[in-house]
Amino acid sequence: MSPFLLVLIKVVVALAWFMILTLYLTWAERKESALMQDRVGANRASIFGLRFFGLFQPIADAIKMFFKEDFVPPFANRFLHTLAPFLSFFFVAVNVAAVPFGPTLAAAGRPLVLQILDIDAGLIFVLALLSLGIYGVLLSGWASNNRFTLLGSVRGAAQLISYEAALALSLVGLILVFPSLRLSDIVAYQGGTLLGFLPRWGVFLQPLGFVVFFIAVFAETKRVPFDLPEGESEIIGFFAEYGGLKWGLFMFTDFMEILIVSCLVSTLFFGGWQVPWLGDAGVHFPWGADWHWPAWLIAAARILAFQIKVFFFCWLQILIRWTYPRLRYDRLMELGWKILIPLSLLNIVGTAVLVSL
């Protein structure tokens, strides 16, 4: 098989995984919020009378959005207005290229890397693209030529700048501990154990870094405790002048961001595809016992472990989104500049001291 075809297949499979999960994340969000609030959630959409707990709801929503009018307000900048949702969609969707889905498999005698792009600056790539996503927000707010959308996008830009700094700084400690920017290397470093029993995951080596990273990356997704750019109840947000499929793209981008954030958190801080105590030969229990597993089982367990971690963090983000109220704007800025950045700087200093010892 030519390498080009292989990459093409990987791209298609990864994007399909990504899109389908994102589609069903909308369902998961509705169901999870319903369960948290003692409700039932979307359960009416049916095909031939079959409801399946509302699993057809995302498809019904998609069909509805497809058939809505593609409206551009007459006072808007038509080109930028159309470009913005696609930009923000692209900058998030392309992140899936850097996610390591599993260990390197030996398929037909050749190594098969379960990652589209194993670039040596994978972490920088992801951070850069995540922050480029702000262009979608800014352009949509500006091109709509509406005060409220502009207000939303300006808020979004200010918020993302303040959290971008904390986000990058919180990862410096991680890079000091796992001396690599290649995401597959970072995952590989997280195999093995600490003190004999604790998995050598980033969260145990960098607890403070994890907390700062998680809060900052949550702010990147622009969801409820940090949903100032949108602010449903006050300014409607940067996509107020959008409808139909373009609005759907913005929503879809939001959910894709949740998924990407889950991938990042589990890759950087929760061992990616590493299973606790599972080595290349089988399970090595902390009390010294060994349990030999065949190679295919180890590979399957590792791929499954990554999926489980991603699902867990999606669940956690939805839980947080439906628990907390929105932060006031000045409090949001205070949290970013006065708490998270000093904390991440402290984390860098502490880690550097500990590493150099």
Binding site: L35, M36, D38, R39, V40, L319, W322, T323, Y324
Partner: protein, 157 residues
């Protein structure tokens, strides 16, 4: 510092409450999916068109006009309901009744349900107990305004 820890504790407690609701409800939903009957349900929702909540005895639902033994409407066209109606949605036209004990009857009794606010004053005002709001019909809807003009034919059913 102590204040910050307190805020953190409150945040964690909040997430714990919502997570507990999620897990407990998920547990009961799963039990019901496998057909296990439990006293507690996963959700407080009543799945409306399939399951209906029992109405209270004094619930004011769609109006009906009561009949005498001989099948004629009890209404004597005294206009008290028309007078008391705050939405002015009742129109009554009187006619002569052959029975000298009754003297008047309603030739026309229209309720405009698009205007009715279901206050029940007409029921309170009626000296003949001719109108009641106890049909238990609460899904009154129509595709046109004309379908919501209820006359004698619909009200006497």
């Amino acid at each position: 510092m102590i204040q910050a820890l307190g805020i953190l504790g409150a945040l964690i407690r909040g997430v714990w409450i919502t997570a507990r609701h999620f897990l407990v409800n998920l547990f009961f939903h799963t039990l019901q999916l496998f057909g296990i009957k439990t006293k507690r349900k996963g959700a407080v929702t009543i799945q409306y068109p399939e399951k209906k909540k029992e109405l209270a005895a004094r619930h004011r639902s769609l109006h009906r006009l009561l009949k005498r033994e001989d099948g004629k409407p009890r209404c004597v066209a005294c206009m008290l309901c028309v007078t008391v109606c705050p939405s002015e949605c009742i129109v009554v036209e009187a006619a002569e009744d052959p029975d000298p004990e009754v003297q008047k009857t309603a030739a026309r009794f229209d309720i405009d349900l698009t205007r009715c606010c279901f206050c029940g004053f007409c029921v309170e005002a009626c000296p003949e107990d001719a109108i009641r709001m106890d049909t238990g019909v609460i899904d009154i809807s129509a595709l046109s305004r004309a379908d919501l003009q209820y006359g004698l034919d619909k009200l006497l059913k």
